[in-house]
Symmetry: C2
Subunit: 198 residues, 2 copies
């Protein structure tokens, strides 16, 4: 076996399965995606998918874990390439522009809606994702000028971070109609960003 790199090494097929699963779940929800759907999309058998991910819980957990890692990289990139709160929040909002344009939602936003039917491991990953976001946004906001001065009711950067995250996830949900959804999504969030980074 060659240079066994850090964990996360996956076969080409396993990666394709995760890609297809994530795409379908973001557009249709957890319970509307079956092994049969994935098999059809990838020209595989359902058994082949069970070979890579024995149960749907395994697939779901791997899918969200990978989503969290990718998202962490994207946030790190935003932090290193920008300097102001406004730039950072704007680019953070735009992280979801592509999925939204294709009719999808934040993976964990969709999964949170299906929360009660999720395997425990998946639910834990989803909660972890939201914690990641809140922590990151809190640190971004804490570095800028005092956000509690702009948002009257907010007693801490963390509270403002929670509001901002809620606004993003909610704006994707409420602006899901085909027409102009992306503009409406951006407009809602710009409204909040301008207040925060006045």
């Amino acid at each position: 076996m060659e240079g066994s790199a850090a964990e996360g090494e996956r076969s080409h097929t396993a990666t394709r399965i995760l890609d297809a699963a994530q795409d379908l779940v973001q557009r249709r929800g957890y319970n509307a995606v079956s092994y049969g759907d994935l098999a059809a999309e990838l020209d595989l058998t359902t058994a082949a998918i069970h070979y890579h991910f024995p149960s749907k819980a395994d697939l779901g957990e791997a899918m969200v874990a990978r989503y969290r890692r990718t998202n962490a990289d994207e946030r790190a990139a935003i932090r290193s390439r920008t300097n102001t709160v406004r730039e950072r929040l704007t680019q953070y909002v735009d992280l979801y522009a592509d999925v939204l344009a294709e009719g999808g939602l934040c993976l964990c936003g969709v999964l949170a809606a299906d929360n009660a039917t999720l395997p425990k491991a998946v639910r834990r990953e989803v909660q972890g994702f939201f914690d990641d976001q809140t922590d990151w946004l809190t640190s971004i906001l804490a570095e800028g000028t005092d956000v509690t001065a702009q948002l009257e009711g907010c007693e801490s950067p963390r509270q403002a971070a929670e509001l901002f995250l809620a606004a993003i996830e909610g704006a994707m949900l409420t602006h899901r109609t085909p027409r102009n959804q992306l503009n409406a999504y951006r407009a809602s969030l710009r409204c909040l960003i301008d207040t925060i980074a006045a």
Copy 2:
């Protein structure tokens, strides 16, 4: 037949079916609720449910239509019993306190997540619900002091209304963990209300 009242008259069983369906969908999502689940919950057969609602699309449409009517009444009650923007928004936010405490979400928030798999008629009702909310919030905000002065980036009451709705739907989604979810939900929205109604 006795005094055929205004439309919306439904048999006792049909009402019980809608109650159970709404409760289950709010907690589990559209695709995780089957006729079998409802039959078990209500001690009926699935055929009995098909008698009242021939297809799942019929059930879904009736469920959301009733939700919209109930919600319209609740909003009208808030408007007539309060006078300030702050009171109105606070009570509007609290409309979801009970469902949230029981592990549920706004019915249309859940359905928006399942959007791609929804029958057309249901999708139309869900979109109608969001339009209702935006219209109502817009008129509430327009009656108060100029909200575009408090929220820097907002160019109109409507834009502020869209942000507020997004924040509510999103806060339910992100604060779905059992512990203290209701307090966190309220805190996030209070933060926005205090800014809007400063």
